[in-house]
């Protein structure tokens, strides 16, 4: 009865709000075009630090997630975005950068321990997913400033190979940058 009464209430006199969103659509269109142009399906996340300008290359091989070693133009060394020291002040023995070796070894050990624990524990849904797509730990992403000489690259590669990363991925900028 009561609901029937409410049905009789007419709302025909209400006008729909008229929002002019033309300019908003213009902005969104520009933004969409910009984002699509810069879309990169790579799962490699690199937060570039200051004073690093990677070289350009014609390579179109998409990078993938792994440990990232960065060396800036002023020879500061970073592992996964964390500064570990300046190359000039680092102890270098037999072509190995000690702090870099320690850092890379620690990351690898943590990863290996996590893998071992995952393999011992009963398979949960999470571990199944993880095993299906294991994080690549044989390779290291090397991001160097283009002005650095080869001996810096050699030091990084030698240290990484000794720490158990025999595959090197040299991170470069696309040629159209």
């Amino acid at each position: 009865m009561r609901s029937g009464r409410f049905k009789k209430i007419k709302r025909n006199n209400m006008q729909a709000a008229d929002l002019d969103i033309t300019s908003l659509l213009d902005i969104i269109t520009i933004l969409l075009a910009f984002l699509l142009r810069n879309y990169n399906p790579s799962d490699l996340e690199v937060n570039l630090v200051k004073n690093i300008d990677p070289p350009t290359s014609v390579s179109e091989r998409i990078g993938s997630s792994s440990v990232v070693v960065m060396v800036t133009s002023d020879k500061l060394v970073y592992v996964d975005g964390k500064e570990i020291g300046k190359l000039d002040n680092m102890q270098v023995e037999q072509g190995l950068m000690s702090p870099l070796l320690a850092s890379l070894t620690e990351i690898k050990e943590k990863y290996d321990n996590a893998r071992n624990i995952a393999s011992v524990s009963p398979p949960s849904q999470a571990s199944i997913t993880e095993n299906a797509q294991p994080k690549e730990m044989r390779k290291v992403n090397i991001l160097l400033d283009k002005s650095l000489p080869y001996n810096v690259l050699r030091l990084v590669m030698h240290t990484a190979a000794t720490a158990g990363y025999p595959e090197f991925k040299l991170i470069v900028k696309g040629i159209n940058q």
């Binding site: 570039l48 050699r154 040299l170 470069v172």
Partner: protein, 171 residues
């Protein structure tokens, strides 16, 4: 029973101008502060020692393509004896198109080979090394393809030259 009546109130039209202005400035701020660079990778591996099996003894001798990169020129060597096949001069930059032409012919005769050994001098800039890797790895897009034979002996068109780069002095 009274009928509920609503008067024809004029609908207030929202003025979004200032909001749009703010969004527009915000977008500029985001675009300027973000680092939109396309990142790619070049592959290399630490040199590995392998033992030749008896099956491989009768096969063709390995190309053993080696590039000695010096500040003034590049020496291209081939074969186990390290015969100098060509020298690439450097004026302001290395004459990389000439190197690419040479490697294109070399690839035609050694279609199954894909490894190149780099021996750069310690002072060579990293940027130069990447440029050389680019020219050694593939034929520039503008210069088409070459015809080589695949493992089964069938002809294929490819731009890939020697794309497995190994740095000799790493370990």
């Amino acid at each position: 029973m009274k009928r509920v009546q609503r008067k024809n109130k004029p609908v207030d039209r929202l003025n979004l101008t200032s909001v749009l202005d703010a969004i527009f400035i915000f977008i500029f701020f985001l675009l300027l502060s973000a680092q939109f660079i396309s990142i790619f990778e070049l592959e290399s591996e630490a040199p590995a020692v392998t033992t030749l099996t008896n099956e491989k003894k009768d096969e063709k001798k390995p190309l053993n393509l080696t590039l000695e990169i010096l500040p003034t020129h590049i020496i291209v060597k081939t074969g186990m004896e390290g015969v100098v096949s060509m020298t690439v001069a450097k004026d302001k930059e290395y004459d990389l198109p000439r190197l690419n032409d040479f490697l294109r012919e070399l690839k035609k005769n050694n279609s199954t080979e894909s490894t190149v050994i780099f021996k750069p001098e310690a002072t060579i800039p990293y940027d130069d090394i990447i440029k050389i890797i680019d020219m050694v790895s593939e034929i520039p897009r503008s210069q088409g393809t070459i015809s080589i034979l695949d493992k089964n002996g069938a002809p294929i068109q490819t731009r890939i030259l020697f794309n497995k780069v190994v740095f000799d002095t790493v370990i």
